[in-house]
């Protein structure tokens, strides 16, 4: 991953309940400092002079308590503990609830080129939002070669070797009213524990390469209704050339999964052969996936009915034998 700097944090496009409401009030040259760990620290202990295990590499949060303590230090004209504080390489200091740093603090942070940020949010609110933002930034990431589409609300990652017809299948799905998230290069992040979110690369977003046509712009051709920026990866459909020596699933009773970034994702292996309408098969797979999410498993229910019928038939046969 590229370095994530304070500047990048300030430039993130966060809205409403994600907004961090940050402004820089000092130490501008330090905005290029890097955030290396997704963690925060309340520097109360350090300010009181206890620097053992001081987590200086974290973002330091100054709430009302810390700010009041800084004012007390200023009144007592004690600057040495602050000098020690800024001798550490700190990514940035954030003053919450619109608290203002003391003059000493501004002077020393300027000398150390440590950015001073201010937010109107309360410490607890800011901490929760910041952790959420950093959680996403530092989320484990992986690039997969495939096409991510949304079909009936299910995020499907179509995979397979080059030339098997992934893009053509996706194009047919878009033409049938479904949505393209990313073609060819799908960046997957694992956020909030078990959720895999797929997005496309910015430069080529919502363009597709179709052999014989070249590069096409899906947004211009099919409209904004045909695209999405990101979507959870819920099903993987692997296309492969029909291999007659291989046995493909005929019942669909067992559920196969593959692991992406430690999360198990449902997986279907679909053989491609002239005459097989892959987009329709994928649409059906999406609907079947929705049924499963609602608790209805077509294959299992069918098997249950067959078993019940066989049981009643053998009971009937036994009854007739008795007579």
């Amino acid at each position: 991953m590229d370095k994530f700097r304070i500047l990048d944090l300030l430039e993130l496009d966060l809205k409403e309940n994600d907004a961090l409401d940050l402004s820089c009030i000092g130490g501008r040259p330090g905005l290029v400092r890097e955030i290396t760990v997704p963690a925060i620290n309340r520097p109360g202990l350090a300010l009181s002079g206890f620097y053992d295990n001081f987590a200086h590499q974290r973002i330091q949060i100054f709430g009302r308590g810390e700010s009041a303590y800084l004012r007390k230090l200023a009144k007592e004209k004690k600057a040495d503990t602050l000098e020690k504080f800024f001798s550490y390489e700190i990514p940035c200091c954030v003053f919450t609830s619109n608290q203002n740093p003391t003059d000493d603090f501004i002077r020393l942070s300027g000398k150390a080129e440590c950015p001073l940020l201010q937010t109107g949010l309360s410490s607890s609110d800011f901490a929760i939002r910041l952790m959420r933002v950093l959680g996403n930034v530092f989320a484990p990431k992986k690039v997969e070669h495939g096409v991510l589409v949304e079909v009936f609300g299910i995020g499907i990652l179509i995979m397979g070797d080059s030339g098997v017809g992934k893009s053509e299948t996706a194009l047919a799905l878009i033409e049938r009213g479904h949505r393209l998230v990313a073609d060819d290069v799908v960046e997957i992040r694992r956020i909030s524990g078990n959720i895999l979110i797929g997005t496309g690369a910015k430069i080529v977003s919502h363009h597709m390469e179709i052999r014989g046509l070249g590069i096409i712009n899906i947004t211009h051709l099919f409209g904004v209704g045909a695209i999405r920026d990101k979507k959870q990866v819920q099903l993987i459909v692997h296309l492969e050339e029909w291999d007659s020596s291989k046995t493909y699933d005929r019942l669909g009773e067992s559920e196969n999964t593959v692991e992406i970034l430690g999360v198990q994702v449902h997986y279907l292996l679909i053989p491609v052969r002239p005459g097989r309408n892959i987009p329709v098969i994928i649409e059906t797979a999406a609907m079947n996936e929705r049924l499963k999410k609602m608790g209805y498993y077509s294959a299992k229910e069918f098997n249950k009915n067959v078993s019940k019928w066989l049981e009643s038939e053998s009971a009937r046969a036994a009854f007739l034998d008795d007579k």
Binding site: D2, V143, H145, S162, G163, D183, D184, V185, A201, I203, V204, H207, M208, E209, I215
Partner: protein
């Protein structure tokens, strides 16, 4: 597996035309071919993949091939880069 590190010598970097040329060359081989930039690996048989690398002048790339014709594949692709994609 065969690997080779190369530096992009054409000033305009890898835009659409060089990318297409690269993909065409890569597709002549049965090996699985990848191009790596800063630890990010993409499939060399995909135009979109190559374009997303954002490979500019003087970028260092690593060509990786795995398969029967891996040696030839890496050589053919490295030659493309050395010839500046027949551009300059």
């Amino acid at each position: 597996m065969k690997e080779k590190e190369i530096i992009i010598k054409n000033r305009s970097g890898i835009h659409a035309r060089p990318a297409a040329l690269l993909v065409r060359t890569a597709n002549e081989f049965s090996s699985r071919i990848f191009i790596e930039k800063d630890g990010e690996r993409i499939n060399a048989k995909s135009i979109m993949g190559i374009l997303t690398l954002g490979a500019t002048y003087n970028t260092v790339l690593r060509i990786i091939a795995e398969g029967n014709d891996e040696v030839k594949a890496v050589e053919a692709i490295a030659t493309l880069f050395e010839n500046k994609f027949e551009e300059e």
